[in-house]
Amino acid sequence: MRSSHLQWLLAALLALSGGPAAAALNVFATVPEWGALTEELGGDKVKVYTATNPLQDPHHVEAKPSLIGRARGADLVVATGAELEIGWLPLVTQQAGNPKVQAGKPGYFEAASFVPILDKPSRLDRSEGDVHAAGDPHIQTDPRNIARVAGPLSARLAELDPENAAYYQTRYKAFAERWNAAIARWEKEGAPLKGVAIVVQHKGFTYLIAWLGMKEVAALEPKPGVEPTTAHLSEVLATVQRQPVKMVLRAAYQSDRASQWIAERAKINVVVLPFTVGGDDAAKDLFGLFDDTVQRLLKGLQ
């Protein structure tokens, strides 16, 4: 009698803890761009949960109960890496009790390891602000980086879900073709932006600027991650008045005060970029993100 009770209990626990593989691959994406890319590549074979929204500063996230709960059932964690999520993801994966998604396991994917990282600091010291030892982690602002991540990510989906490998490959090929065509289109549309001098709020657009050949002359943050100060803004204003700067860029999640201040005084345009998928109404998916980014930049030229 007793042992049969125990068996029932064990069976119930096993059923609760996952048991047989679910129909779709559960993917935990740390930021919206990787959530969107996984959906492009995985179609209806993946169920994507995105841990942060585009209005959140990805540097400042806490290991919230909701994140631990979602990481518990994930088959794959798709992260940016390069220390972007260092403040919360290690804690979330450690607390989630899910050995599949620990760093180093196939269920843990870091996008930044597949792209050439820019802005590696030559001097590592916190007096330089919130510097990233591994280099600039905001790799999603260059569409060529999305292409670089898509291949390995598709391969990873196939590795975790071999039954649907052919499906993932077909989707990847279709995506890569559309994406490469889109990159060519954006590069053509964005040609007038080459050599244009700009100011950024946070040094978060390094890859975008490098891709389109723009020229970053100053940042409103005195040091990365440090809020703009009046003294520093005055310096930036002096710089901007010495040379023809066209616009100041900020991400949708950042406060508009500093960029407005500089724009009014220097008579330049403020361009609010979506920064990631969902950052504004037009950036509904990855294609929309860059369609909108290029259009907004071109508008800033006028």
Partner: protein, 460 residues
């Protein structure tokens, strides 16, 4: 004590590397700059070459329909990996430096919480300038199965204590997270947080009265995270039970047990919450302290028996669109109950010649509620209210010597802090503490917290 002699030596050794770099001459500096410039150039060239190879590989790949989408660049990027040599396996190391100035209207050496047995590390600390405990934390993955964490506290009295030293088995299936060693118990909400992460300089009165500020277990913890989208974890701990409200008992087996459940989730993008219930059972043997009796004598008293503590906790956080950078708000509260029963010995040392042992039962409770509001970047204000209920204390035949407590200790606290980065904080705190009948302690604290080294995690 002699065990810890290695520590300053190791610190000096660890620091000698950057020191030698500071001693460089101008010529050396010029040479270093030139080397860095060359390095930069060579890296830029390599990155360009890599990008070209990447482009080639990609075009080749899109044409090649037969192969599976293998990572085209993973092999081509050895330059991005900076980890090399023995140093690559160094654990994450961080240190917390703390100090304060305290202005207390009452003598802190006379601090007690009226009607509650004292234990652990309680009270407002010393007056004037003082160093608070400095903390050294070392953590890393041990191998593919374990992760380890060591947190050592260096006190201003020049002693060293191991705050936490535990291993976690990371490969356990079915949502299990086994932890072992010395760790802050998972009960309640604040108990697992280190003191420098608290929103006020001191622990709530309820933590001081019922757990001696913070409850540490030496033993095992097993946590199970439910496979549901809503976060639900159940935890159980067994430990040696050395710490208050228990005491060291020189016996085999389990000295204390803890069980708890936590659940939490988000509501929309802006709200998150967590709530929990916890229960601790432990035993005390010869838990002695001094207490004034009916005649006004300072009598030594002792307790042998069982202690049960139950805690209900909740925390709710608000950040507009989930972005706490500019403004955010946090409310947390915990309610404690404690029941103790066993033998109570009056005049243990016989100093009054009236030694008496009797049955004893107490049922006491307490709570705190606090809110912290960040009204602009870097600046937060907070308020906290503490209250303890002396409840029901039955001294048995000792009632002839001791009065059952009727006083309700309480405290009100306000604070403002400035956090220019994730790594530094300066706090001003004012409190009015009434923990004894007719005694009001006006407390003013100025505190700094500096964190250096590895980037810590943002615990909820």
């Amino acid at each position: 004590m002699s065990k810890f002699i290695w520590l300053p030596g190791a610190l000096a050794l660890a620091m000698s590397v950057p020191f030698s770099a500071w001693a460089a001459t101008d010529a050396d500096l010029a040479e270093i700059r030139e080397q860095i410039r060359q390095l930069k150039e060579s890296y830029e060239a390599r990155i360009q070459a890599l990008e070209q190879r990447l482009k080639d590989a990609e075009t080749a790949k899109t044409k090649d329909a037969a192969t599976t989408p293998a990572p085209p660049v993973a092999a081509a990027l050895p330059a991005t990996s900076s980890a090399s040599g023995i140093a690559a396996f160094n654990p994450a190391i961080s240190a917390v430096l703390q100090g304060r100035y305290a202005n207390l209207s009452q003598d802190p050496s006379k601090f007690t919480i009226g009607g509650f047995a004292p234990g652990g590390d309680i009270g407002p600390g010393r007056r004037g300038f003082s160093l608070s405990e400095s903390e050294l934390a070392i953590s890393a993955s041990v191998d593919h199965l374990f992760a380890g964490n060591l947190i050592v506290s260096l006190t201003p009295e020049n002693t060293v204590s191991v705050e936490e030293a535990y291993g976690i088995y990371t490969a356990a299936p079915y949502g299990m997270v086994p932890k072992f060693g010395r760790f802050f118990s998972g009960l309640g909400y604040m108990n697992e947080q280190h003191q420098h992460a608290w929103d006020f300089i001191d622990a709530p009165l309820a933590y001081q009265a019922f757990l001696g500020s913070q409850y540490t277990n030496d033993g095992l913890q097993l946590k199970w995270v439910a496979p549901t989208d809503q976060f639900l974890e159940l935890g159980a701990e067994v430990g040696n039970g050395d710490n208050f409200p228990g005491s060291m008992r020189n016996k085999n087996g389990v000295g204390s047990g803890v069980i708890y459940a936590h659940t939490g989730d988000d509501i929309g993008a802006s709200h998150s919450w967590r709530a929990g219930l916890s229960y601790l059972q432990t035993r005390a043997q010869d838990r002695q302290y001094s207490q004034f009796d009916r005649a006004g004598n300072n009598a030594q008293v002792g307790f042998n028996g069982t202690s049960h503590v139950a805690i209900a906790d909740f925390v709710w956080k608000y950040a507009p669109n989930g972005n706490p950078l500019y403004t955010n708000f946090k409310v947390q509260g915990e309610y404690f109950w404690r029941r103790e029963n066993g033998d109570f010995i009056y005049d243990v040392d016989g100093a009054l010649g009236l030694t008496n042992t009797s049955a004893y039962t107490s049922r006491q409770s307490g709570w705190y509620l606090q809110g912290v509001y960040q009204f602009m970047p870097y600046w937060r204000v907070g308020a906290r209210y503490d209250r303890l209920d002396p409840g029901h204390v039955d001294y048995g035949t000792n009632a002839a010597f001791l009065d059952a407590p009727a006083f309700h200790p309480e405290r009100s606290t306000l604070m403002v802090d400035y956090t220019p980065s994730e790594f530094s904080r300066i706090r001003l705190q004012w409190g009015q503490s009434k923990t004894q009948v007719g005694v009001t302690d006006n407390q003013l604290f100025l505190q700094y917290i500096l964190t250096l080294g590895a980037h810590g995690a943002h615990k909820f």
